[in-house]
């Protein structure tokens, strides 16, 4: 019968009975110890030498070893060292049996790998106590190893899941135009799934929209949020929605799906097809840089709240207008780049970033140079955040050379006859941008997806002219000076907010022909007209009333007719099934 534990009950990790290996060259000692142990209920293996001990352990490792120090051939220390090597990962406690009592002896025991030592003559109670302590330690080791193994298995499973998720995420990103010729970037996630994202799309009017985002946290929650942002951005951008509208929709979706405390720091940029101006919005990212040559010409700091924190009514999604020259570069990055640290713990910092930016020559060299500088700086130190950077080159030809937007799969419909007109009052004009929705309707209806960009361009021209010159009474001359451009849009915003009355109608009439059709677009407004007979002929080679001008409309449409004192315009757009 095993003796009762004085404290009552067995402590966790204790083994009663245990298998004890007794190693002692002296027969009497061996028998004495074996006796004590057997009476205590343990199973005993007794050997007379170190080599026998090793043999026994190879066959069947015991729970505990009582090791005599003084033995011929191999002493207790050497045997223990070899034993530990043999057992490897398995922890078997060794208690030395010795006649020496000094501190040096104890130190040697511990150094050889023993747990404790026992001095002759043996006190049975002390022997039991030391054994119990040693077995308790062994129990803890066992538990720790089991937990470690379970954790390793769990981690492996999770990594497998994340890898699958990453692949899914990648295949869903096909709508992305990160490969556009005027775009360079790098994305270095900290873990398998990236908490940063860079999205690029082509708008129906031939420009580009960009989104660079940084979710709080990393891993799975951030990646799931990124999927939502990705879908909303691409769906809306392909339909020609504005930066403001996309930001509002994103904010609403993120506010609804992210828990309190999680948000998306984001910057959005819209570059027009001319690369003459950009709309910029920064809510939570480090300064966006506009670089002309080797000078940082402009810094756009974060002056808005990140998305997903406050409701739409409290968020200002109005972007800033900046004008650009051919060859200018826009540079956007997340805070991971600023905070990347060297082995010494120093941060890369904004100063170094600007340094790299300034030293870079043109042609996409900035991103390569920055990547090199960063890698050299961190030189192997652990990465603690996702690092992302985007460079946009304002080059009109590069932009135009791109393929048309992928968009929705082409739907063909037989040419049909139909007509539609919508009239907007002042309140509608103030609060909505109706063109994307309208374009969506007519493109879907007649299957004109492939002609979308052109029709949209024409629509935009006619609509902006009617709204800005006709109803808001603005003077486009302001738009053509360098500083005037920014002022123009500020004026437009104010004038639109103050608009009290007036109407603007957009009408479509479609006549189907044998293998195509003619779409007649009419725009009418109730405001100020202009002497079209006098003004229009003089527009040769000029930018025109706004944007790319009436010249472009005239080149796309086969007829452009003004009437009602300049208050209405009608164009005919002919298309054929290719």
């Amino acid at each position: 019968m095993p003796p009762q534990d004085e404290a009552g009950g067995a402590t966790p990790g204790e083994l009663t009975p245990a298998t004890v290996l007794v190693v002692d060259d002296n027969t009497t000692n061996r028998l004495l110890l074996a006796g004590i142990l057997r009476r205590a209920g343990h199973r005993v293996l007794a050997v007379a030498s170190g080599s026998e001990a090793l043999e026994t352990c190879r066959a069947q490792p015991p729970d505990l070893v009582l090791m005599d120090v003084m033995m011929p051939d191999m002493d207790g220390y050497e045997t223990t060292r070899r034993l530990k090597a043999l057992l490897g990962d398995r922890h078997v406690p060794v208690i030395f049996l010795t006649a020496m009592t000094d501190d040096e002896a104890l130190a040697q025991c511990i150094e050889a790998g023993g747990e404790d030592f026992l001095v002759k003559p043996y006190n049975p109670l002390l022997l039991q106590a030391k054994m119990r302590a040693a077995l308790r330690t062994r129990g803890l080791y066992r538990e720790m190893q089991a937990q470690r193994d379970a954790l390793a298995r769990h981690e492996q499973r999770q990594r497998g899941d994340l890898e699958i998720a990453r692949k899914m995420f990648e295949s869903m990103s096909r709508a992305d135009r990160l490969d556009a010729p005027n775009v360079r970037h790098f994305l270095w996630p900290m873990e398998v799934l990236n908490g940063d994202l860079i999205l690029v799309s082509r708008t129906p009017s031939g420009g580009q929209q960009f989104l660079v985002g940084d979710f709080t946290g990393h891993g799975l929650p951030a990646a799931i949020g990124a999927l939502v942002v990705h879908d909303v951005f691409h769906a809306m951008s392909a339909k020609g929605f504005s930066v403001e509208e996309i930001l509002l929709e994103l904010n609403a979706k993120l506010l609804a799906s992210l828990p309190t405390g999680r948000f998306l720091a984001v910057a959005m940029i819209e570059l027009d097809a001319d690369c003459g101006r950009a709309l910029v919005w920064n809510g939570g990212l480090p300064d966006l840089l506009v670089v002309s040559g080797q000078v940082v010409r402009l810094r756009i700091p974060s002056d808005r709240l990140p998305l997903g924190i406050v409701a739409g009514g409290s968020i200002d999604t109005t972007p800033r207008v900046i004008e650009l020259a051919e060859g200018d570069r826009l540079f956007v990055h997340t805070d991971g780049l600023v905070e990347a640290s060297s082995p010494a713990g120093e941060m890369f910092g904004a100063a170094r970033i600007e340094q790299s930016v300034r030293c870079a020559a043109g042609g996409g060299d900035l991103i390569d140079r920055l990547a090199d500088d960063l890698l050299r700086f961190v030189s192997g130190a652990a990465q603690c955040d996702d690092v992302s950077a985007l460079e946009i080159l304002c080059d009109r030809r590069l932009l135009a050379a791109q393929d048309a937007p992928a968009g929705a799969p082409a739907v063909t419909r037989p040419p049909m006859d139909w007509q539609l007109e919508m009239t907007f009052g002042a309140s509608a004009l103030k609060h909505t941008e109706p063109l994307p929705a309208l374009l969506q309707v007519i493109a879907d209806l007649q299957g004109l997806q492939g002609k979308r960009a052109q029709i949209y361009m024409v629509l935009c021209e006619l609509y902006s002219n009617a709204l800005e010159h006709g109803l808001l009474g603005m003077d486009s001359a302001l738009k053509h000076s360098a500083e005037g451009f920014v002022q123009y849009y500020e004026q437009r915003r104010r004038a639109l907010a103050a608009l009290e009355e007036g109407t603007l109608s957009v009408g479509f009439r479609h006549r189907g022909e044998e293998r195509g059709g003619v779409l007649t677009i009419g725009v009418r407004h109730s405001g100020r007209g202009f002497d079209h007979a006098r003004v229009l002929p003089g527009l040769d080679g000029n930018d025109g009333l706004c944007g790319r001008g009436i010249r472009l409309v005239q080149s796309i449409c086969r007829r452009v007719t003004y009437a009602e004192g300049g208050r209405s315009v009608e164009v005919e757009y002919a298309w054929r099934n290719d």
């Binding site: 940084d214 709080t216 946290g217 309190t260 405390g261 999680r262 948000f263 720091a265 809510g283 939570g284 990212l285 480090p286 700091p301 974060s302 002056d303 808005r304 709240l305 990140p306 924190i309 406050v310 805070d335």
Partner: protein
């Protein structure tokens, strides 16, 4: 290291001091500090004099505190923030959501 919190006599103001790194590791302690001492309606003062580092998860924790405190701007006050910490709060425009003194 970590968080220390004290409540005023009448319980109307809770002062929380955060030392060194304000990051995700303090998540649980931070939450129990404000939940234990006060509810919504109390005023929270966060003393960041010893805080040298603050990351985006800390910003998230500030938002959670703000929600707990009832959501108004003067419910959460940040005092003694270093210039570096201020800058982080500035970039995120958190001065619109909390009071930073």
């Amino acid at each position: 290291m970590g968080i220390s919190a004290t409540a005023s006599q009448d319980g109307a103001e809770i002062r929380i001091r955060i030392s060194d790194r304000f990051d995700f590791n303090l998540h649980r302690d931070f939450r129990s500090a404000y939940e234990r001492h006060g509810g919504s309606g109390a005023r929270y003062v966060l003393d960041l004099s010893d805080t040298s580092y603050l990351d985006s998860s800390a910003l998230g924790m500030l938002l959670q505190l703000r929600e707990h405190a009832g959501g108004s701007k003067d419910a959460v006050n940040i005092v003694n923030a270093s210039p570096g910490i201020r800058e982080i709060l500035q970039i995120a425009n958190f001065d619109r959501l909390l009071t930073i003194r």
